[in-house]
Symmetry: C2
Subunit: 280 residues, 2 copies
């Protein structure tokens, strides 16, 4: 079972996790999902690909064009094109209509698109996310990785209460695992081109990252009603659009920092199993 | 939580599963993974995207060019391109070097690429798979879906024993769930352009599908040493390349068929929980 490590070394951008890494990642995901369920979330399951027209609603191609990956079928008009040196040419493709998401929570807003919420709502979901980065670091900066999220939709107070509760849990879990997590305010390019929201985010941070060293392994994010508006999600008991917030966990990053901190994925798994029950 | 059904109806090619569907899919996956673990498998975790040069090793672009989806970053040389009518043009892209897999088991062969196996080996893995189809049917024929596999590598006898054992389990589980599953021999285009193996597969079927009505929801597949050769996987105790076989479960298809058979995802979940412990 030693095959994976050799491979991981030569393809830093994409990883096949070995059995010990897989067990650890799955256990971490169970812990975070458990927190979500304990807080009242049910799980939904999004696809790792959306119509470009759906991702466009979130200004993805305006605010994150450098991160975007899009997909298309091959153009077979003149027979199947052959890749050369591991690549096709753009002319080998049909028109790209499919976008690969760079964050998980899009699935939650699209799930509730056009809905009216009768009460404050919490969902959890995990997805494969994709980012075209300018450099890659094994497990820490991958082309494709997994992000577990807990997404709150409803009143502004609800979205903030969820972030406060999860901030406590993440901080306590980090401490129990021997990670010195720094909570740092961060900018969120989602609101770059939105005057009122951009001003608001300069006055009051909308994103806090939990950093192990210089690596953000979790974040809590306030979107005000940006996604509610874009997906026309309304509230029965209040005018305007739903407020949303999300808590995000980069699963391979947790795997990387815990393996470093505990010496192996197996020992990190023991540490997670010991720490998890102590978190309220 | 009624939002999902409206959405599922208008995007048949991609689905966001609602909470009841998600619980059922996760339970089915736990059952199939449990069978794999009970048979000695450990789990590995593959990415939903590979370098085109990796998928090329499996003749994907020769034998399945119509199913293939490839991905690329946007070309930002002249500023970020804008999609129009929900699509980019091929000229908006950089060279596509990334391929989206249409089956899960590729990850297993790539994980063991170049390895020498000291013993018969069994792994299980689940992945998002992608297929460019000429038509879509909600949950039954999707652009992106989930496939759980159990993959055997080692001696030919080992690969066949695993298929025989899983054939029994799948048949018994189908019967316990009230599904009349037909076991049908099927062609496997993997071996279309491989003279000896193509001949072999005409003499002795290499793929059996388990069909509920006209929908294949699982399959058992013999690859002889095709993947072993392509990924240079050797055996300590025998000359030549490893033999491989795989058992595959199309998770959304099980969800579709069981929901139809039991009237709702919730009732299907009860049926699965009742049936699973009775399978050896």
């Amino acid at each position: 079972m030693a095959a994976g490590s050799a491979r991981a070394a030569h393809t830093g951008a994409l990883a096949i996790l070995d059995p010990d890494q897989t067990d650890l990642l799955r256990e971490l995901d169970r812990v975070f999902t458990g927190w979500g369920r304990a807080a009242g979330a049910r799980e939904i399951l999004p696809p790792p690909m959306y119509p470009v027209s759906d991702l466009e609603k979130f200004d993805v191609y305006t605010n994150f064009p450098h991160l975007a990956l899009v997909a298309a079928p091959l153009d077979l008009t003149d027979g199947p094109p052959k890749p050369a040196d591991g690549r096709f040419t753009a002319a080998d493709l049909q028109e790209p209509r499919l976008g690969l998401p760079h964050a998980t929570c899009f699935g939650a807003y699209l799930f509730f698109e056009g809905a009216e919420l009768g009460e404050d709502t919490l969902v959890t979901l995990v997805n494969r996310c994709f980012r075209n980065e300018d450099h890659y670091v094994p497990l820490r900066r991958l082309t494709s990785f997994q992000m577990r999220e807990i997404v709150a939709l409803g009143s502004y107070e609800h979205t903030q209460r969820v972030l406060a509760d999860f901030t406590e849990r993440i901080t306590a879990f980090g401490a129990a695992l021997g990670l010195g997590l720094d909570r740092e305010a961060a900018a969120d390019p989602f609101f770059e081109n939105d005057g009122a929201r951009a001003l608001m985010s300069r006055l009051s941070p909308v994103k806090y990252e939990f950093q192990a060293g210089d690596l953000a392994i979790a974040s809590v994010n306030t979107h005000r009603n940006f996604f509610g508006e874009r997906c026309r999600i309304r509230l029965t008991d209040a005018p305007g659009h739903a407020f949303t917030s999300c808590v995000a966990f980069g699963l391979e990053r947790w795997l990387a920092v815990l393996t470093d901190a505990h010496g192996s994925a197996t020992r990190a798994l023991e540490a997670v199993r010991e720490a998890a029950p102590r978190i309220p």
